[in-house]
Amino acid sequence: MAAGGGIDPIHQFHITEIVALKPFGLNLSFTNTSLWMVIVLATVSAIMIYGSSQRAVVPGRLQSLAEMIYEFVASTLTGVMGKEGMKFFPFVFSLFAFVLASNMLGMIPGSFTVTSQIIVTAAFAVLVISVVLIYGIVKHGSHFFGLFVPSGVPGWLLPFMVLIEVVSFLSRPVSLSLRLFGNMLAGHIALKVFGGFVVALIAAGGAATIIAPLPLLLAVALTALEFLVAFLQAYVFAILTCVYLNDALHPGH
């Protein structure tokens, strides 16, 4: 077997510095992650700006794509929060579009998946929870903390339940960031590993070469699955953002 054959499934996640910037001992270098975030941002902006600039009654390709994303996010949002949730539309739409675009661009071979870095997804999750906390407290004051007091619980159990509710609330950013990060990381590693099997089997020669197409077939199937997961994770991220924002909008249900 091609032991030490140089197929390293983790290598695609390595962060390399493109422009080293280290002012005041802070590492603010422009890395490949930053580069791909800029590419994602440019892609989303291009689609939305070009798509909304034409305003044709019969939409072209890009315009209908932009309208489709808009309507999808809008219906998801109003489905969870109702019409008054539309004030969060720019926030949710930006998150959804960014996550979707970075997941999809990550499927291009040789590209870099921004959302496979836990620091990126964790930053998103912290942003979402901060918005929930700040909006909830500003809008509802101390009434917001009624979220942590479940109703219909006997008095002696209440402190314990409040503690559990608080931990449960704190676990939201963890699970939110972990879900996106884990799915993207695992999917890309699996693709790389199956691709590596093909190379290793062909390199082994003899009878092993005959079964080399088998992992190739699996890699093809996995690619299709990954596209589904790339979309679904963006959707899950958006809908969970809506669910959490709904708690800030109507606490104490």
Binding site: G79, V167, S171, R172, S175, L178, R179, V236, L240, H253
Partner: protein, 116 residues
């Protein structure tokens, strides 16, 4: 046919009224939280999102509990005890999240009111 015809028959007007009523009902249903225009693919996406949620909510609770316990231990110098306590609490919180997810009606993508 924008102006209603003055000498239109009763049944025509009634049909028009009925169609307008159903349009209003549809618009109102979209206004309410928890109501989602359930499409076929949207239902699948909703179901899969629930699955992803259940899987990671459990892990998220345990990890968040462990993190809180570990940081609390480092802060207060009570080495293993807070970690153990919060690990248990985090696990319970994770299970509670999954239980709450399961106890709420999941039609498509509805977040719905929390079933506490």
């Amino acid at each position: 046919m924008t102006e209603p015809d003055p000498n239109a028959s009763d049944s025509e007007l009634r049909a028009r009224l009925g169609s307008l009523k159903s349009a209003i009902q549809r618009a109102e249903a979209n206004d309410k939280p928890g109501a989602s225009p359930a499409g076929e693919d949207k239902a699948l996406a909703g179901a899969m999102s629930s699955g992803f949620r259940a899987a990671t909510d459990l892990a998220g609770g345990i990890i968040a509990g462990a993190l809180i316990g570990y940081l609390g231990d480092r802060w207060l110098g009570t080495s293993p005890f807070l970690l153990i306590a919060f690990l248990v609490i985090g696990t319970i919180a994770g299970f509670r999240s999954v239980y709450r997810l399961g106890s709420r009606p999941t039609s498509g993508s509805s977040g719905g009111p929390k079933a506490n």
